[in-house]
Amino acid sequence: MNNHSDSQPAKRSDDEFFSGYSRLPKGIKRFLLKFIPLLFVGVVLFGIFVPRVHDQFNPGKFSRGQFEGLLVGEPVPHLLVPRKGKIESGSQFSRYLLSGFSKSSVPAKVTDQIGKWVQIKGAAVHRNNLTVVATGGAKPIERPAGAPLQPEPGVPLGEFSLKGEILDGKCYPGVMKPGQGKTHRACAIRCISGGVPAVFLSHNEQGDPLYFLLADSNGKSVSKQVLDLVADPIQITGQVTQYGDLFLIKADPSTYQRL
């Protein structure tokens, strides 16, 4: 048998007793009138600060638009849109990746036009210099007056070992937050397996994002072979070619290393 130490005679203030169906005793009420506002202060502070620490997203809204350019199929379908204005340095083209709506590849109506100048209507999203246009069709057009006859060849930059992450080319610039990393892995896998181009995100020494299209040694798309590596930190060693502000890295997917 043991005694309980709190069984000493209660102080007068301790004698107040709360039961749900009667009014709050004064002392308890006084206490709660101090404590509950404190909880509300916590609610306000959390409500203000928690969303401010989510720093991995961009505004990411789709904007409908019409684009005219040269449709290219390798390694993934993309549109080369002639740049307007002065282009003393850099590429003559902007390069927009193409996907279908939802988590899908561009339909045959688009890929049938590869190699031609086309007009595309669709929804575009961009993040930094990575742009993707979701579209359902492509209408052949004449080459616009003044447009370059053909794209300039890529510039081989040599072999590089790059650390980064494979993400899908649509959600990352799009409406997903963060659109990368483990929390977005399942979504990115669905996108890439559905035919949205996979993109490799790496950073230069200054911390600027660099985007790479992935191709195997023969320059063919590797999207479906890299699903299990999506969103993981990996290292790719391969030959890098620069096309304007977009890069291509050629390497056998079996040589990708998880870090």
């Binding site: 048998m1 043991n2 005694n3 309980h4 130490s5 709190d6 069984s7 000493q8 005679p9 209660a10 004698d15 007793f17 709360f18 039961s19 749900g20 169906y21 709050l24 308890i28 206490f31 709660l32 404590f35 509950i36 909880l39 509300f40 609610v43 959390f46 409500g47 203000i48 928690v50 969303p51 401010r52 620490v53 989510h54 720093d55 991995q56 997203f57 961009n58 505004p59 990411g60 809204k61 939802s102 988590k103 899908s104 409406v175 997903m176 937050k177 963060p178 990368q180 990393g181 483990k182 929390t183 977005h184 892995r185 399942a186 979504c187 896998i189 669905r190 996108c191 559905g194 993981d232």
Partner: protein
């Protein structure tokens, strides 16, 4: 305390409680949205709703888990415990909206209010080449790795437990499952908490390494762990408090003097491994089990009101002489025979079956009411 089950037995306290709860959640969700829009005015908010509801649920879970230990430290927190189940059910719905979303237009009377929050299942897993629910589990299957562990599954485990708790939260289930089973089921909230800490740590924190998130979740875990340990230590210290030598005579033990017990209050002692509450009221001493039949509340920390021992948790009442709730209520707890020898209280070590009438020991046995022992 009811013989007929109603969905909720509303009273003034519960209404105020729920209004404060919903106001706090409303303020949090509003500020979350407003504050995020300050980051970028044209931000696509639908993906952020997932975070708003998920974080609201996680923060509320910390409040829920804090109430129990706080009540052990200071009884003035007890009004927060009174309606804690509404907090739990609300928290489950916040978690559910985090997953499946919410559209006010689905509720007939509220269909004019344009409010919609998309859940993670729709936002991340829909529109692909498999069903969203398949994507949820197939997106990551690296259960053998801590760093790559599928945080989604941990969230599903947490939500499944909260669902079981929410659907069994009503007193109907408490009575039909019996208090010990119900209590055990509802203790699994700690499994849910562990799963959800894992869900947040291996999900949001692993992806977004802002120190505030990591520190906040870490401090939350430390806070919950420390207050539970301190409360457990305090309980243990009380159980181990030095007792007067046990003088078992005819199965009766000396539990102390009548002067130790304030009027209408009790002294709790552990007799043969069970806590017994010995009440002093109306010049009498009577002993009943310390364990309320409703939710195992500590009756000995209650008070005799209108002639009934009243549980400090939810106000369930028992007559001290019989251990039975006054009619029409049907709950009853074991009673213990009591004797007074001078000013010493002796309690039988053998409990009577629940509801057994006992004769309370009288402090003032003299006809003229003269105080005999005080």
């Amino acid at each position: 305390m009811s013989v007929a089950y109603k969905s909720i037995q509303w009273n003034r306290t519960k209404i105020i409680y729920d209004l404060l709860l919903f106001a706090a959640i409303g303020i949090y969700l509003f500020l979350f949205t407003y504050s995020a829009k300050l980051v970028s005015p044209d931000l696509e908010m639908r993906g952020l709703d997932i975070r708003a509801f998920g974080s609201a649920a996680f923060i509320l879970l910390h409040v829920i888990l804090s109430i129990g230990p706080l009540c052990r430290f200071d009884r003035r927190f007890l009004p927060l415990l009174y309606n804690r189940r509404h907090m739990g059910v609300t928290m489950f719905f916040l978690g559910l909206i985090h997953v499946i979303g919410f559209n006010l237009s689905d509720i007939p009377v509220l269909s004019n209010i344009p409010y919609k929050a998309d859940g993670a299942l729709y936002w991340y897993h829909d529109f692909g080449n498999v069903e969203p629910i398949v994507s949820l589990f197939a997106g990551n299957t690296h259960y053998g790795s801590l760093v790559r562990f599928p945080f989604e599954t941990l969230g599903v485990i947490g939500l499944a437990i909260l669902f079981l708790m929410a659907i069994t939260s009503h007193d109907f289930w408490l009575a039909n499952l019996t208090a010990p089973i119900w209590k055990a089921l509802h203790m699994s909230v700690y499994v849910a908490y562990a799963a959800l800490v894992g869900h947040v740590t291996l999900g949001a924190i692993q992806t977004n390494r802002h120190p505030f998130l990591t520190i906040a979740v870490g401090l939350g875990l430390v806070w919950i762990t420390v207050i539970h340990l301190l409360a457990a230590l305090q309980e243990r210290r009380r159980d181990r408090a030095v007792a007067p030598p046990a003088t078992a005579t005819d199965h009766y033990v000396d539990i102390g003097s009548i002067n130790e017990i304030p009027d209408t209050r009790a002294k709790i002692v552990t007799i043969a491994g069970e806590r017994v509450a010995i009440f002093k009221y109306d010049g009498k001493i009577a002993a009943i089990s310390n364990v309320c039949q409703h939710q195992n509340g500590p009756l000995g920390e209650g008070k005799v009101i209108d002639g009934c021992v009243t549980c400090p948790w939810h106000g369930y009442q028992y007559l001290p002489e019989t251990g039975a709730s006054p009619p029409p209520f049907i709950e009853s707890v074991p009673t213990f025979n009591v004797q007074l020898r001078d000013d010493r209280i002796f309690v039988s070590t053998i409990p009577n079956p629940p509801g057994t009438e006992t004769i309370p020991a009288r402090i003032y046995p003299d006809a003229d009411g003269a105080q005999s022992y005080e």
